[in-house]
Amino acid sequence: MPLGAQHNSLSFKILNIMKRYQNYPGIVGWFYGGKLNFERILFLLHRLTGIILIFYLLVHIIVVGFRAYSPELWDKIMKLISGHYNGYYNPIIYFLEWLLLVAVIFHMMNGLRLIFLELGFFIGKPERPIYPYKSSIDYQRAFSWIIMIIAGIFIIWSLFVFYNPLGR
C-alpha cells in the first residue's frame, strides 16, 4: 500500500498528490543513442574511451615508473604485464593492448572533430527555420564522416601492424 493510502487525513492526501515519479535516467540515459542520432553514439564512445584512457594513464605512470629502479625490476615487470616483450608473448594482453590502441585512435579522431565543432566551425550560421529544417546536424555530417573514415583507416592499419596477417 502506498504511504498515504493508509490514512485519510488531509496532510497525507496532499503528500500523496505531491508525490512525483523522479524520471531521471542517469547513466542508462547515455545509452539511448541508438534511438536518436548518430552523433549521440559518438558522444557515448568518446566518453567510454575517455574513462578507459584516464584510468589506464594513472596505472601507466606507475608501471613505467619502474624503469627508474633497476634493470632486473624492469625486466620482471615487463614479463608480467606486457603483451610482447623480448620473446615472451601473452596473447590476451596483446589483444587488450590492441583494443587500447583502437580506443586511443577513436578518442583522438573524435577529439579532433570536437575541437572544430565545439568552437563553432562547420556547424552553419543562424538562419530562419523553414520546413524541412536544416540543423547543425546536417551541416557537420560530411565533416564527421570524413573524420570517422580516417579513424577507420587508422584502426585497420593498426590491425596490420599488430597482427601482421600478410606474414611480412
Binding site: 542517469g26 575517455g50 584516464i54 615508473g65 627508474a68 616483450y85 601492424v161
Partner: protein, 112 residues
C-alpha cells in the same frame, strides 16, 4: 570566467596531445626494434629529449584526462560542496602523479 579558461585549456591540450600521442604511438609501434627492451629503455633515460618531452606530455595528459573526469563526475554530484570536494581530490591526484612521473623520468637522467 574560470570554467571558460579551464575548458579552453582542455581543448588546447587536446590539440597538443593529438600530436604528442600520435608521436608516442608511432615511436612505440612503428619505429622498429624493441622499444621496451632494457637497453632501449635505459638509452632513452640518458637522452635529454625524452625526459623533457615526457614531462610536457604527462602534464598535458593528466590535465586533459582529469578535467574530463571532473566533467563526468559533476553530472552526478551537482551540489556546490561535493563539487568543491571533487575539485580538491582531482587536483591532489594530478599533482601526486605528476610529481611521481617527474621523479621517475629525471632521476635516471640526472644519475646517468
Amino acid at each position: 570566467m574560470k570554467e571558460g579558461k579551464l575548458w579552453f585549456f582542455h581543448i588546447i591540450s587536446g590539440a597538443f596531445l593529438i600530436i604528442l600521442l600520435g608521436g608516442h604511438m608511432y615511436y612505440m609501434h612503428l619505429s622498429g626494434g624493441d622499444p621496451l627492451s632494457v637497453e632501449n629503455t635505459f638509452k632513452r633515460a640518458k637522452d635529454l629529449f625524452f625526459p623533457l618531452s615526457y614531462t610536457i606530455f604527462v602534464g598535458l595528459a593528466l590535465f586533459h584526462g582529469l578535467y574530463g573526469l571532473r566533467g563526468i563526475l559533476f553530472e552526478r554530484f551537482n551540489t556546490t560542496f561535493s563539487q568543491k570536494v571533487i575539485n580538491v581530490i582531482l587536483i591532489l591526484i594530478g599533482i601526486l602523479f605528476f610529481i611521481y612521473a617527474l621523479l621517475t623520468t629525471w632521476i635516471p637522467y640526472l644519475r646517468r
